[in-house]
């Protein structure tokens, strides 16, 4: 077993496309859960809507920046639709509605026709959309693969990673400024005690709605980087369904909710951790340490989900504030 290459690939994942788009989506979820206490369990829905908005627009010849804007507008509409019936109610209703709405979005993207209207022409049905990312790839300034002393990326990945991390840094800066502002303080006040915030004349419903929209925009951006990176968007659960939402949740909680850099660091560690377990298990398998009757190649891929579920449970039970979080900043008992 080649520990050197396992280590190298793990380090690569710290800075790879996955860590970057996880981080973007996690920054959004951190605005929802960490700063406002909103239980958004449909983050993959925001990612899917951003991704499809971008892909369908690009496919139909819309310029790149306008296509991004269309994806963001679609995500805004989705957030408003989700927030309207739920944000006045107890926190767990938002959880139920968001998880359902993300699933609705995915089913609709997968459908071939909706009430007689042929949607496959636009969404590609269960095949999704492939090869729409050329306008993005054409901007690639790199001429070949990129090798730094600790990471190496193919030409395409290098460009996606550059754009992805640039967006992450801008987003962190934005969140930093937003949370220092009076608006950010109201957001935290609503998380801590909604009634108190209301008593002081703050419109809690409106503030929560603004937070839902804002976080959703980052989710949509994350989805866009994700599908631009693989230049394909597919309505599978692994790509844009509930499992993806839960991955982002683990990343946020791991890094520390309500912390500026928490979601970014959580995403990097979690991406690397996933890669490391995957490669180690496959290595053990090739060496015959794990017999194939116990775990075959397909099952190795499933182990990461089992570990993710276990990780989410253990983190929440024993260290809900994550690695860098502060327990006092945790919105666990809002109702």
């Amino acid at each position: 077993m080649d520990w050197g290459s396992i280590l190298a690939e793990t380090v690569n994942k710290f800075f790879g496309v996955q860590a970057a788009y996880f981080a973007l989506a996690a920054i959004g979820l951190n605005i929802h859960f960490g700063y406002t206490g909103l239980l958004n369990f449909g983050h993959a829905g925001f990612m899917a809507i951003g991704a499809y908005g971008l892909a369908i627009s690009l496919q139909n010849g819309v310029p790149l920046l306008l296509a991004v804007l269309i994806g963001l507008l679609a995500a805004t509409a989705f957030a408003l639709l989700l927030g309207a019936p739920t944000l006045r109610l107890r926190a767990d209703y938002l959880a139920i509605v968001t998880i359902a709405a993300a699933e609705i979005a995915r089913i609709l993207f997968r459908a071939t026709e909706i009430a007689g209207f042929n949607t496959r022409e636009y969404t590609g049905g269960s095949t999704g959309i492939n090869g729409f990312a050329d306008p993005f790839k054409d901007l690639n300034p790199y001429t070949g693969s990129v090798d730094l002393w600790f990471v190496s990326f193919s030409r395409n990945d290098a460009w996606t990673v550059t754009v992805g991390w640039a967006l992450v840094l801008l987003s962190v800066l934005f969140v930093h400024l937003a949370m220092r502002s009076p608006w950010g303080r109201v957001l935290k006040a609503v998380r801590e005690d909604e009634d108190a915030a209301r008593a002081l004349g703050k419109n809690a419903y409106s503030i929560k709605m603004q937070s839902l929209v804002l976080g959703g925009l980052f989710g949509a951006l994350g989805g866009m980087i994700f599908v631009l990176g693989q230049s394909s968007v597919q309505p599978t659960p692994q790509d844009l369904g509930a499992p993806k939402t839960f991955f982002i949740w683990v990343a946020v909680i791991l890094g520390g909710t309500g912390k500026l850099w928490g979601p970014v660091i959580g995403s990097m560690i979690f991406s690397a951790l996933l890669q490391f377990t995957d490669l180690t298990l496959r290595g053990f398998q090739e060496e015959g340490i794990i017999p194939t009757w116990f775990m075959d190649g397909v099952q190795v891929g499933q182990v990461r989900f089992i570990l993710m579920g276990l990780g989410l449970m253990l983190l929440m039970a024993f260290r809900p504030q994550g690695i860098f979080g502060d327990k006092r900043e945790l919105a666990l008992d809002v109702r």
């Binding site: 109610l89 107890r90 009430a115 099952q299 449970m313």
Partner: protein
């Protein structure tokens, strides 16, 4: 559970996420349910050269492993059994792309009878009785599965996202016993208590300690989501990703023609079992001492405790009964639509819709809400295609939260 499932996990060789092409060949007869077609040769060609082939198994499934690329997938019509033909006689092959690591489903629509002949298409009006029947049956299944979800919420405040996995567990355990040779009725009789035991284990091993530690409801909600993922992928790990059917009642066409619709024996069994169980539950909740204690705890926990009710015992009883019912619901769901590793999660969203519609925390709310959701889903196929029928139920959820968030039977107290 690992041991129980281990002995037949080997059968699921071609798993859902292995890259390649796959499909299930089923034929639609003029009357009755679709049935699988065995022994059909499927050929995969790339650039005119044959690169793989497969023959459909007893359950109609076939799988050809393939790397990424452009392919042509064709069925060999000469291998069709007597009386089977393609719905569209021209559509013998299909040009498809495979992206890296992708597993693509390829459908070939087969019918029993001559190809090209218009299948017996019913008008919308004629379809309504059959859809109402399907809707009521599905509603009964949702109702049975979701009573526990509602009562657990009512007594402990826990929004249990892992409830769907109890449904899956019941169905999958019965499937394992069924494949080992037991008749499904017998397998069900063993699987339901096992699911109830898992429910009790959930309460005693996880939720009770967490409540004692003073974990918040939100933390417990997130933990239940973690548990749901853990359990779901454990089932996938040990059982595999294929949808399987029980040995009995799977493709039954025996039944009765009633006023404008046909009901098969399997469906009669589902109705009898679920109606009996639901009536028994209603009686128990209404008349027995434990049932009264349950309602008291759901109503006001502190008041119930101070009047001498052993709240922890009542909660444990609810977990046992609720999990057993969920397991039974899963078995009936499996009878109707086949068993798969994520069936419980799919049902969970509908259960939430049903429970919220009826009134979260009430005993009868789930029943009412489930029937409405079941009917609505099936009747909505009059307007939308059946692949997106579940969307309707989830839309109901949004609407009911806007206009009457406490549900039809819930009390109008403030829940904001």
């Amino acid at each position: 559970m690992a041991l129980l499932l281990g002995f037949w996990s080997g059968t699921a060789a071609a798993q859902d996420d292995e890259p390649g092409f796959r499909g299930t060949l089923t034929a639609t007869p003029e009357e009755g349910d679709r049935f699988p077609v065995e022994g059909v040769r499927v050929v995969l060609t790339a650039d005119g050269a044959e690169v793989g082939e497969a023959t459909s198994g007893a359950d109609g499934t076939w799988f050809i492993a393939a790397e990424a690329g452009s392919y042509n997938v064709a069925v060999d019509t000469s291998t069709f059994a007597e009386g089977i033909s393609l719905k569209d006689p021209e559509a013998t092959s299909r040009d498809l792309e495979l992206s890296p690591g992708q597993s693509r489903n390829v459908l070939f629509a087969l019918i029993e009878g001559e190809g090209g002949a218009a299948p017996n298409v019913k008008s919308d009006l004629e379809r309504i009785p059959g859809l109402v029947k399907d809707g009521l049956i599905f509603g009964l299944i949702i109702a049975m599965s979701s009573i526990g979800l509602s009562l657990i919420f009512g007594t402990t405040g826990l929004t249990n996202f892992a409830h769907g996995e109890l449904v899956t567990f019941g169905a999958v355990t019965a499937l394992g016993l069924n494949k080992a040779g037991l008749h499904i009725l017998l397998a069900g009789l063993i699987a339901v208590p096992l699911t109830a035991a898992v429910g009790a284990g959930n309460e005693v091993g996880l939720w009770r300690p967490l409540r004692r530690r003073g974990s918040g409801l939100i933390a417990m909600l997130v933990i239940s989501i973690g548990l749901s993922i853990l359990a779901r992928y454990l089932v996938l790990y040990f059982v595999g990703g294929r949808r399987e059917t029980y040995n009995q009642f799977a493709l039954q066409t025996d039944g009765y023609d009633l006023l404008g619709f046909r009901i098969v024996n399997r469906e009669i069994w589902i109705i009898i079992i679920s109606m009996t169980v639901l009536l028994a539950v209603a009686f128990a909740v209404n008349k027995t001492k434990t049932g009264k204690a349950m309602r008291a705890v759901a109503d006001n926990r502190d008041l119930a405790e101070s009047s001498g009710i052993d709240v922890e015992r009542v909660i444990l009883t609810i977990w046992i009964a609720g999990a057993g019912l969920a397991g039974l619901g899963g078995i009936l769901f499996g009878l109707n639509q086949g068993v798969s590793w994520n069936m419980g999660f799919e049902l969970l969203l509908l259960m939430f819709a049903a429970v919220t519609l009826g009134g979260l925390g009430t005993a009868y709310g789930p029943l009412l809400g489930s029937l409405v959701v079941g009917l609505f889903i099936n009747l909505s196929t009059l307007i939308v295609s059946s692949e997106i029928k579940n969307v309707g139920a989830l839309l109901i959820l949004g609407v009911i939260l806007l206009v009457r968030p406490q549900g039809i039977l819930g009390r109008g107290e403030r829940i904001g």
